[in-house]
Symmetry: C2
Subunit: 147 residues, 2 copies
DNA sequence: TTTATATAAGACCATTACATCCTATTTAAA
DNA sequence: TTTAAATAGGATGTAATGGTCTTATATAAA
């Protein structure tokens, strides 16, 4: 459904958010350890999220990645997905037609419509704060615990 | 959402169904022309669908691909998707966790649940006959008309 | 039984997604 | 002003997906 890059991006954003609440910046090393992802590749994705102004980076000693506390509740899942994967997941044609709309629909156009709009709705109505709180409370998990 | 192979597989199956209603077998050449896909690659996918017993092939002169008329209305979109892409699209974890269930959910597990089940429901309740009839009646299209 | 016309299938090539490596550049603190 | 610790980013490598090519096999009909 999402690319690996997008999966890592979502998980990384959640972890950064959690730490930003405690005023802690985190490094790609910490992040990749916590979300169980390749470090260098994760760093690339973080740069992408910085360019899209979803997270902030501070270079140099004592630097790292952070999200402004006030921004955490305003960042939607849809923003992260669009930054990394684009909007093809809920705007492209299900069967790959370049032109596919209500006037010239592909065979599954109407049937997909509902599913796609549900997905879009979900991504646009889920923010980082909700996801971060679930992790903090132990309701959800960023990786499989190995202890 | 689906792989290219799966997109071609769905479109090819619809085209074969339409022709099978008129007792006409079709070749990979005709199919790829009609659904605007690479011929040799399409042939590979057709072989896959034959192995999964979704379509039938007849080798030799006057051969081609067909679907038994009675079977057309019983073939679900979900069967084609599973044959080509597997069931990861609606069974795997949205964030790629190897273990992700109600007891140990990823951050988006609950939010995805509904969307995934809607997708699954749609794929399992759409059959080839419905899709073929829409094409025949000109309600939907397999490619962009270039005339 | 030969021929023309089909699909089957393995080997191969191309492109994209995934991932790593190495070298800048930035910055706080000694 | 030097050093250590951090991100930035280009170059490169690897694996999966997408796509082609060539040869084998099957079969209806001449």
């Amino acid at each position: 459904m999402f690319s690996k890059a997008c999966e890592y991006g979502i998980k990384a954003s959640i972890f950064i958010a959690i730490n930003s609440y405690e005023n802690r910046r985190v490094s790609p090393k910490e992040i990749s350890k916590e979300i169980d992802s390749p470090q260098a590749f994760t760093a690339k994705i973080l740069q992408d999220l910085v360019r899209h102004q979803i997270i902030k980076s501070v270079q140099g000693a004592h630097g790292g990645f952070e999200i402004e506390k006030d921004a955490i509740s305003t960042i939607k899942l849809s923003q992260i997905v669009e930054a990394i994967d684009g909007d093809s997941i809920y705007s492209g044609c299900g069967l790959g037609l370049h032109v596919c709309d209500d006037e010239h629909p592909c065979p599954v156009h109407d049937k997909f419509k509902f599913v796609r709009s549900e997905l879009k709705h979900m991504l646009e109505n889920t923010n980082l704060e909700q996801l971060a709180l679930d992790i903090k409370s132990g309701t959800s998990f960023l990786k499989i615990d190995k202890d």
